[in-house]
């Protein structure tokens, strides 16, 4: 039936495309320049108003629009950063009319273009009732970008990028306007040139982090990024768009001669973080004895360990304290200076018939732990062909080859951080090391030195192809039909080999081991759309859109594992025991149809409404279609005749929108499944099944409805712009991982059992967003632009469902509980009082103040700000800086908690090696949180304020001046950039970094999308780069 609907939709479009009346045509050609500098402007969209005809300017600012109906036409030129301009002309049959535009720069962004990835339709921001985030090529080009996440960080209000780790290749979390779902992913949907682009993590476990495919995209190829922040803007994207949509457009060719761009960059990667010291306080019984034995153990013949708490109780005397900062110690630190280098070239050009953009890029990263490396090659070819005057075809293609080598960190005994942070304050000698084995190295936490850990490297190799085609056909000036197809495919090979004897961690490691995972991921995107434009009246333009879309995602995974490999081999087939093979397969299909109607009055009032209907293979069999309506109003008040335009208030737009979109359940969440397994009986391996998941045949998608209202104000002749937005989202039918009482016998030995997904919950996100863009100084010799963004977030679980208990995770410290923010921190509270004033706390001087866990704080930032400043000195020197602040949230410092409770000071009953345990000078607060955790069972003291300000980025770029280029022509088009990332952090958080988290962007553990704690996680690194660019 759905197939029939497709055909019907197509037939409708084709019927609409039949010529109704013969037409005579002419052409419009011309150029667009900057009003102030008279420099040609590239990438300006020039359109014939009331039609679908138009084009983009080339690098010389020129454009050409053929096939224009004769008569009076209104032509509009618009681009981001400039005020739009319209002119009226008369098109003559068979002739080309010349027209010239001069655009004025503006801080008010009304006329940037957003291309809808579903419809293929280009819309100006003034037409949208939403606050769409924009990151332009100019913003991206300011400084070398190491990964796509750098581009998205702190550029747009309401968009939070969280770098989970400083490990090369590690993924990040992206949150737009909070978190909508307690059970599904909160990552936004990403489209690259209209093709859905996977940002999936996955691969071999390395303690905590995973590795995102989103960073496969070469930032150098990006023309611009548009961010649809929620359903009010993304309703047409349907059952996957509740978390917002990131639309990435890669560079295109421009008509004209070939334009080349070379660049090379090189730099250093440094660890500049502060790390906690390890402590051991002791009582001296015989000072003639050495403090430590050669094994790094406190010498019991002369010394007795004595913690602060034990000393406070009077059970021992603290005569001395040994301390060590192992991760900063010259002989012990696992960190060295890493490096980064990149070389790339691109070329674009073309004729009126075909334009091209091609690029090649090679990058090589080595992290501060020298085993952690990544090499990546990116190729891209984008072609746009004018097949006929009224038909164009666009082909975009990208290829990525990536090789990543990494080691464990976070929750792994084989991580360099944990082995350092749990050290006794004793530096092992070369003789100690020579006399020991991996796993029992003196002093190291779990007995593994950095060299040992290097034998546990994990590799990930990826080949990825993303191809999209867009066929656009305009049989009439009022009708354009678009057909788009896309494929995003990657083949990922993860492998891990430990040679025999290198990691003697039990029978499953000592003989050597091998794991290999080969995974293939396919995303097919397709759609047919018809866009009809009509002037219903001289002042009223109607745009109607009708379309269908198709999306299929398929993932295949085969894993082999074996123990007991032959020295020097690296193959599962060489394993002699514990051989395992496992297969995974998931497939989800979404089909949808949509219609949208927009009316534009005087090109300043825009009213639009749309509806999309979806069906999806992951819905329960008892659930049918789902509909996502939306409506939008945008009014450029300042262009009304009655508006008293003044220099002070030069621009005003009011906007409001409403929309609904969804999140589908995961593959087969709706079905009760049995998984194949093997069972040994009677000395035979039998085929068997076990319960994998309990299904719900009524399962439907989560629906998020969003209201948004706001305005854009231009002041001081558009030198200052202010945009203010208020939004409120309510996610209904939120999927709750309802824990089935285990007494039903449905909670088995895998994570997915014991829960049933039910559409029970409601989550609300609301907040304000503000963007202030100022051109403070605009002089020929000096320019200063400052942009400030700010946002607030209020996130609440409104409803969990009747009888549903809080969902507790992160070792009992975070929970989803009705009436509180998602993933809030809960623990029993405590207080302390140093009754005897000795500066030490006993377990009796720390008192619980609640019998049950109480709310401590949110895990998501409740307010964020960013500040971007661009200083131009003369024409050729630019200095840019970016700072970000996040506040109102907590982070669990599990690293310190673990050190306090489990540090490896041998011979000490408590064995903790943190300051709170064993530094006699530790503050009462530090002591109290350890005592509360150790003796009263609450970790509340380790849940800390995580507010921070980070200096994210600075860059200085010098362009070869005209004078220099005259003297040395070879320097024309050359630029030199010096940049730094992650330069400083100001925070009260006492851990290694307030932003990192133990599980990266993993989602497949309970609460995985929300876990907010560091646990021996590698903090961010500083990158210093020099880049030389050359364009001609």
């Amino acid at each position: 039936m759905m197939r029939a609907l497709w055909l019907l939709a197509l037939a409708g479009q084709l019927a609409g495309s039949l010529p109704l009346i013969a037409q005579e045509r002419g052409a419009i050609t011309g150029a667009v320049v900057d009003h102030t500098t008279q420099a040609p402007l590239r990438g300006v969209q020039v359109v014939v108003v009331g039609t679908t005809l138009g084009g983009l300017t080339n690098q010389h600012g020129r454009f050409s629009i053929p096939n224009v109906p004769v008569g009076v036409q209104r032509v509009r030129a618009s681009t981001i950063g400039y005020s739009q301009n319209e002119q009226e002309i008369v098109v003559q049959p068979g002739a080309a009319v010349q027209i010239a535009f001069e655009l004025r720069q503006t801080a008010v962004e009304l006329d940037g273009i957003v291309v809808n990835a579903v419809t293929g339709q280009a819309e100006r921001r003034r037409e949208l009732g939403t606050n769409t985030g924009t990151i332009s090529a100019a913003e991206i080009d300011k400084a070398p970008i190491t990964k796509l996440a750098d581009v998205l960080t702190a550029r747009t209000a309401g968009v939070t990028l969280q770098s989970a780790s400083g490990t090369v290749g590690a993924a990040q979390r992206i949150r737009i306007r909070g978190a909508n779902s307690l059970s599904l992913s909160n990552e936004p949907l990403v489209y690259v040139d209209g093709v859905q682009f996977s940002g999936a993590g996955g691969g071999l476990a390395v303690g905590g982090q995973n590795f995102s495919r989103l960073n496969d995209l070469n930032p150098e190829d990006i023309e611009n990024i548009e961010i649809l922040k929620g359903p009010a803007a993304s309703a047409l994207y349907g059952t996957a768009a509740a978390n917002g949509v990131i639309l990435i457009t890669t560079r295109r060719g421009r008509t004209g001669n070939a334009s080349w761009r070379f660049y090379t960059e090189r730099g250093a990667v440094q660890d500049r973080n502060a790390y906690p010291s390890t402590y051991l306080s002791y009582q001296i019984n015989d000072s003639t004895k050495p403090l430590f034995t050669s094994g790094g153990v406190l010498n019991a013949a002369g010394y007795t360990p004595c913690t602060n708490e034990a000393a406070a109780r009077g059970s021992c005397r603290q005569d001395g304290v040994a301390s060590l900062d192992p991760l900063r110690h010259s002989e012990l630190s696992p960190f060295s200076t890493g490096h980064r280098q990149r070389v790339g070239v691109s070329v674009n050009g073309g004729s009126d018939g075909i334009t091209y953009y091609m690029s090649a890029d090679w990058e090589d990263d080595a992290g501060v732990i020298h085993f952690n490396t990544q090499e990546r090659i990116n190729l891209r070819a984008n072609l746009t062909a004018r097949l006929r005057d009224n038909a164009t075809m666009q082909v975009t293609s990208g290829y990525t080859s990536s090789t990543l080598a990494t080691i464990s960190n976070d929750n792994s005994a084989l991580g360099p951080l944990i082995n350092g942070l749990l050290m006794a304050p004793y530096v092992p000698t070369d003789a100690d090391i020579a006399a020991s084995q991996p796993g029992s190295r003196p002093s190291y936490g779990f007995g593994y030195s950095l060299d040992d850990i290097g034998n546990n490297r994990t590799h990930q190799e990826v080949d990825r192809v993303t191809v999209g085609t867009m066929l656009s056909y305009s049989p009439f000036t009022w009708l354009t039909t678009n057909a788009n197809t896309g494929l995003d495919f990657f083949n990922r090979f993860d492998h891990h080999t430990v040679q025999p004897g290198r990691i003697p961690l039990g029978a499953a490691w000592t003989p050597g081991r091998r794991t290999g995972i080969r995974a293939a991921n396919y995303i097919h995107t397709g759609g047919l759309t018809g866009v009809a434009t009509a002037k219903l009246h001289a002042a009223l333009v109607s745009t109607s859109t009708l379309g269908t879309s198709y999306n299929r995602q398929q993932f295949r995974n085969t894993r082999c594992h074996g123990v007991g490999i032959v020295e020097g081999t690296a193959s599962c087939s060489a394993a002699s025991s514990l051989f395992e093979v496992e297969e995974q397969f998931t497939e989800v299909i979404t089909i949808g149809a949509f219609a949208r109607q927009q009316f534009a009055l005087h090109d300043r009032v825009f009213l639009a409404g749309s509806i999309r209907g979806d069906d999806n293979s992951a819905f329960g069999e008892d659930f049918g279609l789902i509909y996502y309506p939306s409506a939008s109003l945008s009014w450029v008040v300042s262009e009304e005749p009655f508006f008293p335009a003044t220099g002070l208030l030069s621009n005003l737009r009011l906007r409001s929108s409403f929309g609904t979109s969804g999140l589908r359940p995961n593959f087969r969440d709706a079905v009760t499944l049995l998984e194949s397994t093997a069972v040994r009986q009677g000395d035979q391996e039998l085929s068997a099944v076990r319960l994998r998941s309990v299904g719900n045949t009524n399962l439907k998608p989560e629906r998020t409805r969003e209201h948004e209202i706001g305005g854009d104000v231009g002041m001081f002749e558009n030198r200052v712009s202010l945009d203010v937005t208020y939004y409120q989202k309510l996610s209904r039918d939120a999927l709750i991982r309802r824990q089935i009482a285990p007494s039903f016998g449905l909670t088995g030995d895998v994570n997915t059992t014991g829960v049933i997904f039910d559409n029970l919950g409601q989550i609300r996100n609301s907040g304000m967003e503000l963007g202030l863009n100022t051109r403070l100084i605009e002089q020929p010799m000096l320019g200063l632009n400052v942009r400030l963004t700010a946002s607030t977030l209020s996130n609440r679980i409104v409803e969990m469902g009747e009888g549903i208990e809080p969902i507790v995770f992160n070792r009992g410290q975070q929970r989803h509980q009705q009436g509180y923010p998602a993933a809030a921190f809960f623990q029993r509270s405590y207080t302390y009082h140093d009754a005897d004033g000795d500066g030490k706390l006993t377990r009796d001087e720390v008192m619980l103040t609640s019998d049950t866990a109480v709310y401590i704080g949110a895990s998501l930032p409740t307010n964020s700000q960013s500040l971007t400043a661009d200083l131009r000195i003369m024409k050729n020197l630019t200095v840019s800086a970016l700072l970000e602040r996040r506040a109102g949230h907590k982070q669990l410092n599990s690293t310190e908690e673990f050190r306090c409770r489990t540090g490896f000071n041998r011979g000490d009953g408590n064995r903790g090696n943190c300051a709170g345990v064993a530094d006699p000078n530790a503050s009462l607060e530090e002591q109290a949180r350890f005592v509360a955790a150790r003796f009263h069972g609450t970790t509340a003291g380790f849940i800390e304020d995580a507010d921070f300000i980070k200096w994210r980025e600075v860059s200085v770029t010098a362009q070869a001046s005209d004078r220099l280029a005259t003297l040395y022509p070879a320097l024309r088009g050359m630029s030199l950039t010096v940049s730094g990332r992650n330069l400083a952090t100001w925070t009260r958080y006492s851990g290694m970094d307030p932003e990192i988290n133990e599980t990266g962007s993993q989602q497949f553990v309970l609460g995985g999308d929300f876990l907010q704690n560091e646990f021996n996680t590698q903090p961010p690194v500083r990158t210093l780069l020099v880049r030389v660019g050359y364009a001609f």
Binding site: L578, S743, T747
Partner: protein, 464 residues
């Protein structure tokens, strides 16, 4: 000739009508099943296995679930938790939940405990075994030997839950993988009564079911019905053993004791917490062990490795003739027949080597004939009632070491022999700091809060 606005509008109107029609058709609902059909070659559904041909797979699945629940899948299981919580093992690990279990100072249920998985898996095995036995009855017959075996193993899930968890254990109906009706908690004694019912069903279905006989006797013994217990195992030969099989083939099938000791998580105890048995220093051939030179996972605790399970595929004896004789011996002791009691114990001791060799894989490697402690001397009557009880439970402790009996025995000492918990469980200073707690059983997991008939206040882990 130019296209007029009116023509454009007319065409636009046609287009709009088509658009409206298409969306209206979609909104009216349609069958999208064909286009949305997806493959799933990896998983089966309950419906696809509801036929006679699939019966072996369903039965094997239930046996596998029981193995995972009772013995384990390379990780924490009933067998391991009992060893850790009692005096058999102590933690040489860094996991705080494992430390809390070892220390008998378990976390608040909302925070989660290692024993939660034990409860979940035993309940899952109970449900799975019941589903499988009903499938056997449906597609074969209730007299099929598989029926009796499955019902007996179901009885063992009740027994294990009763021995390990607090005296408020809920049982709900999840037959066929569907949560049907939630059940209220029942007491420890009621749990063992339920177990006896299952064993009786197994015995009724099949005559030659020593497994069910031993299981029934164990449940009866837990309810202090000693003479009935002895009667139940009268016909069980001493050399009988029912094994839970393990395999190195998949991680799920790994022997958990070997797996967890292999990487240093747990160490064999010796007089743990003062009250514990001298499992190491007794140099008893029933508990062979060695010291691992690397040490515990936490790199602080010496690692002593039990050699009862020398590999990933080592079998675990669930029910043996040895246990049958020990049940008889205890019944004799309760009846005041000291001579029979002592004779039963000494008969076993005299055959320690053949019995251990029969019941434990590669025993001869762990305790070669040349071993100075390869045999056991006969016991003599210690003379007073309390000492006899001590000896009885010491013998059980060594014979049934690492088979999931020890926690039940310690709780029985409190319930049935008037001992205080502080006299039988490990107490005093804990080796990782602090003191031992007061828990004598595992709490019901927090997730059971979703059972409207259950309240965590009814479960007191400190009550025996």
């Amino acid at each position: 000739m130019t296209i007029s606005h009116s023509n454009s509008s007319r065409a636009h109107s046609v287009f709009s009508r088509v658009a409206a029609s298409v969306v209206a058709a979609l909104l009216a609902g349609c069958d999208t099943d064909t286009m949305l059909r997806v493959e799933d070659p990896v998983n089966a559904t309950p419906g696809s296995l509801d036929n006679p041909a699939a019966l072996p797979i369903v039965v094997a699945g239930a046996l596998g679930d029981f193995q995972v629940a009772y013995s384990g899948s390379g990780d924490d299981s009933y067998l391991v938790m009992v060893a850790l919580f009692s005096d058999e093992f102590h933690s040489s690990d860094t996991f705080l939940t494992r430390t809390a279990t070892d220390q008998r100072a378990q976390f608040p249920t909302a925070q989660g405990n290692t024993s939660d998985a034990t409860f979940n898996r035993l309940q899952a095995a109970r449900r799975s075994l019941r589903d499988a036995s009903e499938a056997v009855a449906r597609f074969a017959s209730a007299s099929d030997a598989r029926f009796g075996r499955l019902r007996a193993l179901e009885g063992f899930t009740y027994t294990a839950l009763g021995e390990a968890f607090c005296s408020a254990i809920p049982f709900s109906d999840g037959a066929g993988g569907v949560p049907r009706s939630a059940g209220p908690p029942i007491s420890t004694a009621q749990v063992f009564d339920q177990a006896v019912e299952r064993f009786d069903e197994a015995l009724a279905a099949s005559e030659n079911t020593h497994l069910a006989s031993i299981g029934k006797a164990r449940a009866l013994q837990n309810n202090a019905r000693f003479q009935e217990a002895a009667a139940a195992v009268r016909d069980v030969p001493t050399e009988f053993a029912y094994f839970i099989e393990h395999s190195a083939n998949t991680i799920r099938q790994h022997n958990p004791i070997f797996s967890l000791q292999s990487n240093g998580r747990y160490s064999l105890s010796d007089r743990e917490g003062g009250n514990g048995l001298d499992f190491r220093s007794a140099a008893d051939p029933r508990v062979p062990w060695k010291q691992d030179p690397v040490g515990g996972f936490d790199r602080s605790i010496d690692l002593y490795v039990s050699l009862r399970y020398p590999g990933f595929g080592s079998r675990v004896p669930l029910a043996t003739g040895v246990e049958a004789r020990l049940i008889e011996a205890e019944a004799a002791l309760r009846a005041g027949d000291v001579a029979t009691w002592l004779a039963k114990l000494n008969e076993l001791r005299a055959n320690v080597r053949p019995l251990m060799t029969a019941h434990f894989d590669r025993y001869a490697d762990a305790v070669p004939l040349s071993h100075p402690n390869a045999s056991l001397a006969p016991l003599s009557d210690p003379g007073d009632a309390a000492a006899r009880v001590d000896l009885m439970f010491r013998e059980r402790g060594f014979w049934l070491f690492n088979t999931g009996h020890r926690l039940g025995d310690l709780r029985r000492l409190v319930r049935q022999y008037g001992r205080q918990a502080v006299q039988v469980f490990p107490v005093g200073s804990y080796h990782k700091g602090g003191q031992y707690g007061t828990d004598t059983s595992f709490p019901i997991p927090f997730a059971e809060s979703n059972n409207p008939h259950f309240s965590h206040s009814s479960c007191d882990p400190a009550s025996p």
